[in-house]
């Protein structure tokens, strides 16, 4: 299993490298270019999995598995949790605000890549020793014997670092509750005292069309009601407005009924009105 060539690799590995390497680069580019954080995170996860494969191919079996389990599995999930907390669709506008930043950044990235390439090209990296000998007694055992002997001090310190980081994260995100939470009864009494919104808030969604929580319910005149959606969504600006869609649908329905009933103009007559027509008329008046 450790038949890694000293100088060249097998054709299979070369094929794997070129195919997966291309995908990894594309994934990395997508990470930095995707508009939404979620997409970026997914692309990054893909790239990381490919890197895990490369680790395996390079004889780092333990790291390859750890990469998948810890990195892709845990850390990227942590990212996704935060994205969820902070806003799934909070797409930041890609319009640059700092003058010249994008060009500078591109120039820097490109220059840095060229520099690194030149550095690697200049270095004499011809003789790959391969890990056959090092991995003789098993990769994990080899790593373990190094970690618990040569690197034991660094290992202990990373342990301390992790503990500190955990405590730090708790300190940063923890919020002390300064007052007792109100009970449901108290809230109800408060609402009665204030005298507004005695009943529960109106539900979101448009009847029979959209029932998602981010769709504002429509008022009789067709305008969306902010009250119907969650406050957090409202603050994030993640409300989808379907009012124009709904009005278009209504108008189409009206048109159809007019055609079927062969009435020249529904609005000119006082008879045969239905709720939908009434609403449409009001909407039009309002839009005038």
């Amino acid at each position: 299993m450790t038949a890694l060539a000293a100088y060249t690799t097998s054709t299979g590995e070369a094929f794997q490298f070129w195919v997966l390497g291309t995908v990894a680069v594309i994934g990395a580019l997508c990470t930095i270019l995707m508009k939404k954080a979620v997409h970026s995170a997914l692309c990054l996860a893909g790239t990381m999995i490919i890197l895990a494969v490369f680790y395996l191919a390079n004889g780092a079996y333990f790291l390859g598995i750890v990469q998948i389990v810890v990195y892709t599995g845990a850390i990227m999930m942590l990212f996704l949790f935060v994205v969820m907390l902070v806003g799934v669709t909070a797409a930041d506008s890609l319009k640059e605000t700092i003058k010249g930043q994008r060009w500078l950044a591109a120039a820097c990235g490109l220059g840095f890549a060229i520099l690194l390439f030149a550095g690697i090209g200049n270095a004499s990296l011809k003789d790959f020793n391969g890990l056959a000998k090092a991995n003789e007694g098993g990769n994990v055992e080899g790593l373990a014997s190094l970690i618990f002997t040569k690197y034991v001090f660094a290992f202990e310190i990373t342990g301390a670092l992790l503990i500190t980081a955990t405590v730090g994260a708790m300190v940063l995100t923890h919020r002390e509750r300064t007052e007792r939470a109100k009970t449901q009864r108290e809230r109800a009494e408060e609402r009665v005292r204030e005298g507004k919104h005695l009943p529960p808030l109106p539900a979101p969604g448009v009847y029979a069309r959209h029932n998602a929580v981010d769709i504002a319910g429509l008022l009789p005149d067709g305008t969306p009601s902010e009250l119907t959606v969650n406050k957090t969504l409202r603050e994030r600006g993640q409300i989808r407005d379907v009012s124009s869609e709904a009005l278009d649908d209504l108008r189409a329905l009206e048109q159809r009924s007019t055609d079927r009933l062969e009435r020249p103009d529904l609005r000119r007559t006082d008879t045969g009105r239905n709720g939908d027509g009434d609403r449409a008329e009001e909407t039009e008046e309002a839009s005038k």
């Binding site: 780092a60 080899g142 790593l143 708790m170 940063l172």
Partner: protein, 99 residues
């Protein structure tokens, strides 16, 4: 194929990640780009491990992962508390240090 190509790939990924840090304003994405850079480094370490024929490079990569984990924990905590106070995850909004 020469295994040195892994190093080129690592360099490319690192440069892409660095560019991403510079151009993205969403703090979460910036963090992801940092992770990308760290991973690129890890790839280089692994390749170097193969080059030298010993496991020290892998050990370093392992430690990098640990440090990256710690960093992500703290960094994301910072982002969350920042979002709580400013309702934004944009790194440009936290520019109070200028005049």
């Amino acid at each position: 194929m020469n295994p040195v190509n892994y190093l080129y790939l690592a360099a490319l990924l690192f440069a892409i990640g660095a560019t991403g840090v510079l151009i993205r304003r969403n703090a979460i994405v910036v963090f992801m780009c940092i992770e990308l850079m760290l991973n690129a480094c890890n790839l280089a370490f692994v390749a170097f491990s193969r080059l030298h024929g010993n496991l020290d490079g892998q050990i370093i990569a392992f430690f990098t992962m640990v440090v990256a984990a710690a960093e992500v924990v703290v960094g994301l905590a910072i982002i969350v508390s920042l979002f709580r106070s400013r309702h934004s995850a944009s790194v440009d909004d936290a520019s109070l240090m200028k005049l």
